[in-house]
């Protein structure tokens, strides 16, 4: 298993994030994908004991995460867990995501703030956005997703192969779910607790919210409309004999 941490100008948090992951998952390699940070992110991550994948120029979150998935796929990893570099994700939840990934056989496990009431709070605007996208995704995915914007996700090798080839470049979380659904892959959610970011600011500001909604909606519907030969081969059976979806 590999833990990947996409990071862009996260020098205030990245050292603690890597140390916490290494403490919770001893022996598991941690790969920080530095999206051409202008601060000390790269050096601090390296000093904390992470492997570094340094992008030559800024690609944005999707390109950054996909670079990690590509490398993990090339290196033959079976499971990859993505943890954000801003310190919002609690490393103590990683073993739970990993265990569910292995035991369920599904392609993706999402660390969700809202499966159980666990005290995690999102801003009013973000909560409204999450409710909106839950409603949009429900009929597309065929099952409810409580936290579609969560970046705390684990994927297995099948999903890794897909994401290595095709991964949304901007605001990837929601579109990635649709990409998986089009291949009849399955996902599950496990409850996690998220903290306020240790340092830095979210890339999605109030002004960008409208652009975010339009962009993601367009990406979702474009993916829904994509013709996929796999869809015409009949439903794939999961390890429990259930139909994926």
């Amino acid at each position: 298993m590999l833990v990947i941490v996409p990071a862009f100008n996260e020098e205030g948090a990245i050292g603690d994030v890597v140390c916490n992951i290494r403490r919770e998952m001893p022996g598991v390699p941690v790969l920080v994908i530095d999206d051409c940070s202008a601060d000390g992110t790269l050096n601090l991550a390296r000093a904390a004991g992470a492997e570094i994948l340094a992008l030559p120029h800024h690609l944005g979150l999707g390109g950054c995460v996909q670079a990690g998935y590509k490398l993990a796929h090339e290196l033959g990893f079976e499971y990859v867990i993505r943890v954000d570099g801003d310190g919002q994700h609690d490393a103590r939840d990683i073993p739970r995501i990993f265990d569910r990934l292995k035991s369920s056989g599904c392609e993706m496990v999402i660390g969700s703030r809202f499966v159980l009431e666990n005290g995690s709070r999102a801003s009013a605007m973000r909560s409204a956005g999450i409710r909106f996208f839950r409603a949009v995704l429900r009929p597309i995915l065929g099952k409810p997703v409580h936290d579609p914007t969560s970046g705390f996700v684990g994927v297995n090798r099948r999903a890794l192969g897909v994401f290595s080839r095709s991964f949304p470049l901007e605001y990837p979380e929601i579109e990635a779910l649709v990409v998986l659904q089009r291949r009849r892959f399955r996902f599950e959610e496990v409850p996690v607790k998220m903290r306020p970011r240790i340092a830095g600011r979210s890339s999605i500001t109030a002004a960008k919210s409208l652009y975010y909604i339009v962009h993601v909606l367009l990406g979702v519907f474009v993916n829904v409309l994509k013709y996929d030969r796999l869809l015409h081969r009949g439903p794939r059976r999961g390890p429990d004999g259930g139909v994926g979806g």
Binding site: I33, E51, I52, L53, A54, L55, P56, H57, L59, G63, Q66, A67, K70, L71, E74, L169
Partner: protein, 117 residues
């Protein structure tokens, strides 16, 4: 109307010269200059062939001949912008894939160096 057509002719010729000079100085690659040259040629021909413009106006139901000219000019440039959007999107995808490949190769090289030492 004649003055408008003359202005369009002058602008088309100016644009044509600009594009040719840019190609000569290698500021624009030849393959990307073709769209501009075609657009200039269309505008030049229409501005000098008034009967053609009037024929189009009569058969498209556009109420005014100058409006036809601007509609055609707008359409030509919209098609060009669309074509350039496609090119830019491809370039961006290629650029991202290359940047990721460079980073991954550097990672492998560092790993090899670490193993050797």
């Amino acid at each position: 109307m004649d003055r408008l057509l003359n202005v369009t002719t002058v602008l088309s010729i100016l644009l044509l010269i600009m594009v040719l000079v840019s190609v000569r100085r290698a500021h624009i690659r030849v393959e990307y200059s073709i769209s501009w040259l075609l657009a200039c040629a269309v505008m030049l021909i229409l501005s000098r062939a008034r009967p053609v413009l009037e024929f189009i106006t009569a058969h498209t139901g556009v109420p005014d001949t100058p409006l036809t000219l601007f509609l055609i000019a707008g359409s030509v440039f919209l098609i060009m912008f669309f074509r350039f959007s496609i090119i830019i999107s491809h370039l961006r995808d290629d650029n991202i894939a290359l940047a990721q490949r460079v980073a991954i190769l550097e990672f492998h090289i560092r790993s090899l160096g670490g193993n050797e030492s």
